[in-house]
């Protein structure tokens, strides 16, 4: 029986045919929908699925001190993460990881047992550990690379350097100020990955990448360290609230050191915990701000040196112009201007040396507030120094309009106005360098990744403030401050001529709004050597307890730092020329010391280290630093013992003996002059 014979079967087969035709048409229309209509959307999703944007660990330039010591560097580190849901053998994985990470297996296991897609096991570990872990090929354990900021100098210059956030962005200090130079471009590579995460195609990082730069600071790490140490010592000794120290090259405006000490803690009898990068996170700005530029205070007597400069420069007075200092009581309007000591007739010079407020008011009145104001503006008060840091404050100097005689009188000796340590140091530099206001700066140069200098910051002359003659005259006068006769004998540095000015300024009690009899700012700012200044050093101690005079509290910091910095910079001690009849004891001592022959500093390269056989004789180490001695001795293959510190002045055996006979050299050091 053929199907043909049954019409209804044929008909039903046709129905089946129509059914299939219909079904396949449906399928085809669906394909059209997916492949034509929804194409773009699906395509994009597909790409997003297999393309992975992999961020590269961002680079960041280093911050170096003026001699190339690293202050802040970025190192590549890695992180270990887990995808707990993909890990079958959690115990084994934890145990294996524990071997390579300094973590108890129990803690790791706890993390692995979390019902999460992703969890960090440990972040920022060294790259060799990463390498070890990657070789374990643990299922569900992944590794990423990132960078971590290290501060090789530990807390040195912490406030100045600032910090870097987790996303490689500068958050504070220089890190923030120069972020665009330091920060490398956040680079990504596009990887196409299969479903198990293995890349099958990796794009190259974009060619036109942003360069990372290194900063070379004007800061000298050693001087900075010394400044911080000396300041800390002084703050602890004075049980003070805080302290600041600034070291500057007056000729250029380069800042060699910039330290802020945190307050004395009466409970621990130390100052607050050493600075570390966490301070930015864990404490309020008060604890870490760079007070040298951010805090303006009433500077006090130091202003007298600028007042005198102005008066002499304006030819209103000469150093020898005599003023009656009224035996310590002088009435301006209805107010009495006090002096700490009673003085009779004083020369203009002596008024500054002994720091007579009454004398200052008289000089001021002679000069006139309008002129004084003009000079103060020229010295840079009331305006930012434009130092290349963030957070600088203007300070305040009132303009003459509507200013009463009492207010004017106060300003002549540094009250009723505010200034930052940076401004004071810059103004003092102008006296030191012959009358030129230089713009302070902390970044000396910018180098590329290879270390090639691509930009060098030159000293910037802002304006002439006073004539060179005036500057010279005032310098001479300020030299007397650091003598027995002056207020800052403690600032004197043996063998060098020191000039400067103290301040002991009463602070305004924020509660009463009046000057406090308890809270002072003790300050000394000066320069050395006075005739050809290499350093301007400012030391400020905020609210010292006990002795509060600037000459007693702050001057020793100047001396400590100055002495050390001069040696560090190899500034030759000088014979102080007797300028007047009264040669102080200090000067005698320094003259006596001068008799010790100062050994000419030898350049390391002058020693024939390369051809040691040539000599076969023991070299002369005298005059070298310990480091230089070590450098030389290392190629000779003989032992060395050190004694003392500073520069070598004696060695045993004597230079010139045959090396073959020598097994050990004993070198004695002492601090230079």
């Amino acid at each position: 029986m053929k199907v043909n014979e049954k019409k209804w079967i044929r008909f039903r087969i046709y129905i089946v045919a129509v059914f299939f035709l219909f079904a396949l048409s449906t399928v085809l229309s669906r394909a059209v929908q997916l492949q034509i209509i929804d194409k773009d959307r699906l395509q994009k999703m597909a790409r997003d699925g297999y393309r992975k944007i992999v961020p590269l660990p961002p680079k960041r330039g280093s911050i170096l001190d003026r001699e190339g010591h690293e202050l802040a560097v970025s190192l590549e580190v890695g992180s270990v993460y887990a995808e707990p849901r993909r890990i079958e053998d959690k115990v084994g994985t934890a145990r294996q990881l524990a071997l390579h990470l300094d973590m108890p297996a129990g803690n790791i296991l706890k993390l692995l047992k979390k019902d999460k897609g992703f969890v960090y096991i440990k972040r920022k570990i060294s790259s060799d550990k990463i390498e070890n872990i990657s070789q374990l090929r643990l299922q569900g354990i992944g590794l990423t690379k990132e960078t971590k900021r290290f501060f090789p100098g530990k807390e040195i210059a912490g406030q100045l350097l600032g910090i870097v956030g987790d996303e490689n962005q500068g958050l504070e200090g220089l890190e923030k100020r120069y972020d665009d130079l330091l920060r490398g471009e956040a680079q990504v590579i596009v990887q196409m990955k299969d479903a198990v995460g293995r890349p099958f195609h990796t794009s190259k990082p974009a060619e036109e990448k942003r360069d990372t730069h290194n900063l070379i600071l004007t800061i000298d790490k050693d001087i900075q360290y010394k400044a911080e140490q000396a300041l800390e010592k002084a703050v602890i000794k004075a049980k003070a609230k805080s302290g600041q120290c600034l070291v500057m090259n007056p000729e250029t405006g380069e800042i060699l050191a910039m330290a802020t000490a945190r307050g004395y803690n009466p409970v621990t009898e130390t100052i607050a915990p050493a600075f570390n990068p966490n301070i930015f996170r864990d404490y309020k700005p008060e604890a870490w701000r760079n007070r040298v530029i951010t805090d303006c205070y009433e500077p006090g007597s130091i202003i007298k040196s600028f007042l005198l400069s102005a008066a002499i420069d304006a030819h209103v007075v000469t150093p020898n112009t005599k003023f009656n200092c009224e035996n310590g009581e002088y009435r301006v309007a209805n107010r009495i201007i006090p002096d700490t000591k009673k003085h009779g007739i004083l020369t203009a010079a002596d008024i500054v040396v002994v720091s007579s407020n009454i004398g200052a008011v008289k000089i001021g009145n002679e000069l006139g507030y309008e002129n004084f104001y003009e000079y103060m503006c020229k010295f840079g008060f009331g305006q930012k120094t434009e130092v290349d840091l963030i957070g600088e404050r203007d300070g305040l100097i009132k303009n003459p309009e509507g200013l009463g005689p009492v207010e004017r009188a106060n300003i002549y000796f540094g009250h009723g106005m505010t200034a930052s340590s940076m401004q004071l140091a810059a103004a003092m530099s102008a006296i030191a360098n012959g009358g030129r206001l230089m713009k302070p700066y902390v970044v000396k140069a910018v180098t590329d990744e290879a270390g090639k200098v691509i930009k060098e910051y030159q000293p910037q002359f802002v304006r002439r403030v006073i004539s060179p003659d005036t500057a010279k005259t005032v310098s001479r006068i300020l030299e007397d401050v650091a003598t027995e006769r002056g207020t800052a004998f403690d600032a004197a540095i043996d063998g060098y001529r020191v000039a400067g000015k103290t301040s002991t300024a009463q602070k305004v009690d924020p509660e009463t709004g009046r000057y406090s009899s308890r809270n002072f700012v003790a300050l000394f700012a000066g320069f050395v050597p006075a005739n050809r200044p290499r350093l301007v050093i400012l030391a400020m101690i905020d609210e010292p307890r006990g002795g509060h005079y600037g000459g007693l509290v702050a001057a020793p910091v100047f001396k400590d730092v100055g002495k050390w910095a001069l040696a560090n910079l190899r500034v030759q001690p000088q014979l102080i020329l007797a300028e007047n009849d009264t040669v102080s004891e200090t000067k005698k001592i320094s003259r006596g010391k001068k008799k010790i022959p100062v050994v000419e500093v030898k350049e390391v390269k002058k020693l024939d280290t390369g051809e040691k056989r040539d000599g076969d004789l023991l070299p002369d180490f005298r005059g070298l630093t310990m480091r230089e001695v070590l450098k030389n001795i290392s190629v000779l293959g003989i032992n060395i013992t050190f004694e003392g510190s500073g520069r070598a002045y004696e060695q045993e055996p004597e230079p010139g003996v045959s090396i073959d006979d020598v097994t050990t050299v004993k070198v004695s050091f002492r601090p230079p002059a």
Partner: protein, 367 residues
């Protein structure tokens, strides 16, 4: 007589050529989609291609053998075939012989070969139904004589397949039976009753297996859990979308990089869609349409009712698998786990489909 041209030498080119083209496409697609996986699993990118190639050759051998055997010869083999199929289906559950893949016990090991007995069941049932329905042609509309015997035989097999578990094959066999019996003259009322009765059963089966719920969810709301149950179907969509009109080119599929599970078996059409685009899909659909229409035409022209039903059975079985697989990969139907004839990787399925083609060509040559 014009028909004869197309069957010159006894070979029906309307059947043979689409089959060869599809097999060729299948081999290319299997290589493309499986080489990465094979490399990943076996460190041999040719692993699946080589196996499939072997089965293609074996399949052609089978095709030509069957083509040259008159279909009447199987009549005597109906019950032995059913019996063998049934035994093989039982062997699936014998530990050591049955092979479990992904929770389902669907395969048996016979020496070096792994067979899927349910594929053979389809063929045996096709022969049985053709034989039985042609014999009982006049009683097909009756419940006891026409419907019940077939239903019982089918139910025996279907329940065994169901407990593997393989709901997809069970449903496809059921649907195929219904269509076949509809053509053979089943009472429309019976047909509707069967559908109504089996629907709750299917519903129960689906809702009492978590993975089936997931599959259903994937079908209904694939985007709700793109990393979970929606993963496979979404990646299938992505493959289709990525292909666009002209495709990304052979070998260039991205979804095959282990994103799309089963990309060389059930979801091979997705890879073809990505690599060959809508044009490729349209061609594949046309080729299947030619095969189906031609198969129905052969059924219409068959010399006797038995041959007609056999051709019909084979054609409908293949056609159902085609539309269900395509419907699944394009998200029109819930995921079933059914292969696409001639294109998907899988020896048993290929051999059975090639045997089916052999049967069609055999019938075609004897019109």
């Amino acid at each position: 007589m014009s028909e004869r041209k197309n069957t010159a030498g006894g070979y029906d080119f309307f059947i043979l050529i689409p089959t060869i083209v599809l097999l060729g496409l299948g081999l290319v697609a299997i290589y493309s989609s499986s080489s990465f996986l094979a490399e990943h699993r076996y460190q041999d990118s040719n692993f699946y291609l080589a196996k499939q190639g072997f089965f293609v050759l074996l399949g052609f051998f089978l095709l030509f053998v069957i083509k040259n055997i008159p279909v009447e010869k199987y009549k005597g083999l109906v019950y032995p075939l059913l019996f063998i199929s049934f035994i093989l289906l039982l062997m699936v559950f014998i530990p050591g012989v049955g092979k479990k893949v992904g929770g389902a016990q669907r395969w048996i090991r016979l020496g070096p070969l792994v067979l899927q007995p349910s594929e053979l069941v389809k063929l045996s049932l096709a022969v049985y139904m053709a034989y039985s329905m042609s014999k009982k042609a006049d009683y097909m509309s009756s419940f006891t004589k026409g419907l019940l015997p077939h239903l019982m035989v089918a139910a025996a097999f279907m329940s065994l397949i169901l407990i593997q578990p393989d709901l997809g094959t069970t449903v496809i066999i059921g649907a195929w039976m219904i269509i076949l019996m509809f053509v053979a003259g089943m009472n429309i009322f019976h047909l509707i009753s069967i559908v109504i009765v089996s629907a709750p059963a299917v519903y129960y089966l689906i809702t009492h297996e978590l993975y089936r719920i997931h599959r259903l969810m994937a079908y209904l709301k694939p985007w709700e859990d793109p990393q979970g149950f929606g993963f496979q179907i979404i990646h299938s969509f992505l493959a289709f979308g990525s292909g666009g009109l002209l495709g990304v080119g052979l070998g260039n599929s991205k979804q095959k990089l282990l994103y799309l599970p089963e990309s060389h078996t059930d979801f091979i059409l997705s890879i073809l869609a990505e690599e060959l685009g809508l044009v490729g899909i349209a061609i594949i659909i046309m080729l299947f349409l030619i095969l189906i229409i031609r198969g129905l035409k052969i059924a219409l022209d068959a010399p006797d009712l038995y041959s007609s039903y056999l051709a019909l059975g084979v054609t409908i079985l293949m056609g159902l698998q085609v539309i269900i697989n395509m419907g699944v990969v394009m998200g029109l139907l819930p995921t079933k786990g059914l292969t696409l004839p001639f294109l998907s990787y899988g020896g048993s399925s290929l051999l059975v489909n090639m045997a089916g083609v052999g049967i069609l060509m055999s019938i075609s040559a004897r019109r």
